[in-house]
Amino acid sequence: MNGELGWKVGGEQGEGIDSTGEIFAWTLHRLGYYAFAYRHFMSRVKGGHTNYKIRVTDRAVGHHGDDLHILVAFDQETVNVNWDEMVDGGIVIADVASGDVQHPETGNVHFCSIPLTGLAKESGSAIMKNMVAVGVTAAIVGLTPEDFLSVIEDRFKKKGQAVVDSNLSAVRIGYDYYNQHFSHHLQLPLRPVAIAPRHLYISGNEATALGALAAGCRVLAAYPITPATEIMYWLVKYLPEYGGVVVQAEDEISAVNMALGANYAGARAMTSTSGPGFSLMMETLGLAGISETPLVIVDVQRGGPSTGLPTKTEQSDLYEALYGSHGESPRIVLTPTTIEECFRFAVEAFNLAETYQCPVILASDLYMGMSKGSIDSLDTSSVQIRRGKLVTQSELEGVSRGEFKRYQVSEDGISPRAIPGQKGGRFIALGNEHDEFGSEMEDQSMRVLQMDKRARKLQSFHELSGASVSGPKDAQITLVGFGSTRGVIDEARTALMQQGLIVAHVQVSVVAPFPADLIRPYIAGAGTVLAVEVNSRGQLADQLRLQLGYHEKIQSCLKYDGDPMLVKDIVKRAKEVIAVGSVN
């Protein structure tokens, strides 16, 4: 079994698929396992195929896995869509409520037709078919119905003990039915003996929102959009506990400008969005750049262009994050590679925005944002709040009103910053080119001084290393990714090494300023470089070529069909490019 189990439940959207997955995942997580859950869903409220995949492992992973061992199918389409993912010896549980479910003759799969809905009706209500399915699963993998009790209680105790009891009883009915009628069993991985004190089951969006709260962000201005809305939900719940506020703006233009205004006034504020909203924010990126106002924008990327694939993952906003908006101004682009990094980078985004007085774009994606995974720590003790060159009232002592040089041409390109309410710090933040005091002007030499000053400020960037690297510098093939693909690339690397190849892995977590010095040796020394990206143009590969050169050895492994990258996609492409390379 290789230390893991892939389980999936599928059916029509709106019939409780997510809650079935959640109950299973939470239970395993609490038992000490590691769960990683990926939701496949559509942009509609009811109907259409949806599924919830959970990979259970004995260690933390960053991927939902290629393989499926158990499939719970509430309809025919679930069988059709997911059959190819089944491993040999896998088990399909098919609800026979909607008549006989057919299945292909391919593969060595145990097909078990079970009246999940019928059994649920017997136990009180058809909606409990999900709990019956959970019970069936428990029987297959050697768990007991009681293992699910704590999660069932948490979910249903508000509705009363009777509801808890009937749900648990539905689990028992499914459990008993399977044991009476079938004998195929699959093993869970070995249960970890010690559970870490901070064994957390959390999504990238939740970790991002928590990071923002920890950073002292007290204003979120946002407009609802999949897959970023969960950040808003989380902060709507918790910001008020700390005196803060979530404003649901009328559109994303309003949202980003509210965030800018709040930052200008000295609070920490952000906006969270996805591609279409991010496109609307472009003009304000330039305003934040020239007015040197801190600004944090979270872009949870989804399939584009335009409305594109609203419920599918993609990493195609990189060009936009790097180059969107007219004119030239500095910006920082962070692409967290793990759930822990979503937290850490969210904290750091606010520190960097204030240190460098420029926009910081925290670009995750649907896969990172909405998938939940078990992790063993979230380093809250190293959270720091650094506000850069924000002046104190005592530093303004003796400065007469109108004398404060907000845009002082400084060596490091960063100027002292005052906030409204401070005496002696009066200045105008503006989108026009300006002199050192913030007065609009068109003097050529001052224009050049100010442009160069702003361009210079990121030269001292040092807070984040920008990439994680593993393997030798002179690998046969070096896999390069950014953001959410860290887990899948890491596993592909292991698979390729098991086939005797020498493989390195570079995962970029800061795209701007680009960590060229750190990455260069891994590109220079590699036989072949394979840039792995969930987009169609190879936007990261373009950055590698632009920043480092080595055009001849950079190849791409691309996916943009809406599904997340799989290990086998990378392994297949890596073997192709190595074969071509060896012929040359």
Binding site: R30, R198, H199, L200, Y201, I202, E206, L213, A214, G216, C217, R218, V219, A221, P240, E241, Y242, G243, G244, V245, V247, A249, E250, D251, I253, S254, N257, M258, A259, L260, G261, A262, N263, Y264, A265, G266, A267, R268, A269, E283, T284, L287, S291, L378, T380, V383, I385, R401, I419, P420, G421, R426, F427, I428, A429, L430, G431, N432, S439, E440
Partner: protein, 286 residues
């Protein structure tokens, strides 16, 4: 106590005779009269001749992008509710590109004051039709005369639930100053539309036109600014050529309505989570 010179910023570069001088003067007088401190005030301005107001007024300022004064100003206020926050722009900025924000700012009712310097024309870009241009008004972009129905800011504000709706004229500084005083003191979003003639590009909506046509609500002893119906009727009767406070009604501000929102300026406090906070927050993930 701040004096008039404390509210002077850069030397204005508006055309001689521009209505915007009157707005600036009235605002400076108002600030002195209210005993405000220029460094506890922020003027957020948009793009256009009116957008220069933030630089010419002596407070902190944010000269933002076209049409986005209101979201930006609301952001400033939400970051620090102890500040006096004004948004200022023109008819193009507010009723053209920024119209969406105008309606929603009135619904939201954040405690800021919005001044629109309405000259019925795009001035800084040297004379094109604006959303408040009169039908038939000839401009560079409407050489045969404007064909679109103009925006009616006052009736729009009343129907959007705005709690303070007024109109002033930059040729009557004492009245404008009195209006601005009430607007700034009003708790909640206050809107003041100001006839601010463009002496260079608009030969139709001139000082003379307003001086001879404007009706002042204060001259009507029967007028009651708490009565929405009277306000609507007055606007209708005068074809909007009316000045004074047309409507004032207090309803809870956004800041006072949002659950648990800080009673003091967020920007002036430390926001650090303790390990106990983290333990509590992380329980939901365990």
């Amino acid at each position: 106590m701040a004096v008039l010179t404390d509210f002077k910023g850069e030397k204005p570069t508006w055309c001689p005779g521009c209505g915007d001088y009157g707005v600036l003067n009235a605002l400076q007088r108002t600030a002195v009269d209210l005993g405000l401190d220029p460094e506890d005030m922020v003027v957020v301005s948009g793009i256009g001749c009116s957008g220069k107001l933030s630089a010419y007024f002596g407070s902190y300022g944010l000269h933002t992008i076209h049409g986005r004064t209101l979201p930006t100003a609301q952001g400033v206020k939400l970051a620090n509710r102890d500040l006096t926050v004004l948004a200022a722009g023109g008819d193009g900025d507010g009723f053209g590109i920024g119209m969406g924000h105008f309606i929603h700012a009135m619904r939201r009712n954040v405690d800021i004051t919005y001044l629109v310097m309405d000259n019925h024309i795009y001035g800084l870009t040297t004379g094109q039709t604006s959303p408040t241009s009169d039908p038939g008004f000839v401009t560079k972009t409407a050489p045969k005369g404007a064909v679109e129905f103009p925006v009616h800011p006052l009736s729009l504000a009343l129907s959007a639930g705005c709690g303070f709706v007024a109109q002033g004229f930059s040729g009557d500084i004492p009245q404008l100053s009195a209006i601005l005083k009430r607007a700034i003191q009003h708790k909640g979003f206050s809107f003041v539309n100001i006839f601010s003639p463009c002496v260079t590009f608009n030969k139709q909506n001139t000082y003379e036109f307003y001086k001879s046509n404007v009706v002042k609500v204060d001259d009507d002893p029967e007028y009651d600014s708490a009565n929405l119906g009277l306000a609507m009727a007055k606007i209708e009767q005068t074809q909007s050529i009316v000045t004074g406070v047309l409507y004032e009604h207090n309803r809870p501000t956004y800041e006072d309505s949002v659950p648990n929102y800080s009673k003091t300026g967020l920007a002036t406090a430390q926001h650090v989570l303790t390990e106990a906070d983290f333990e509590r927050l992380l329980t939901q993930f365990q």
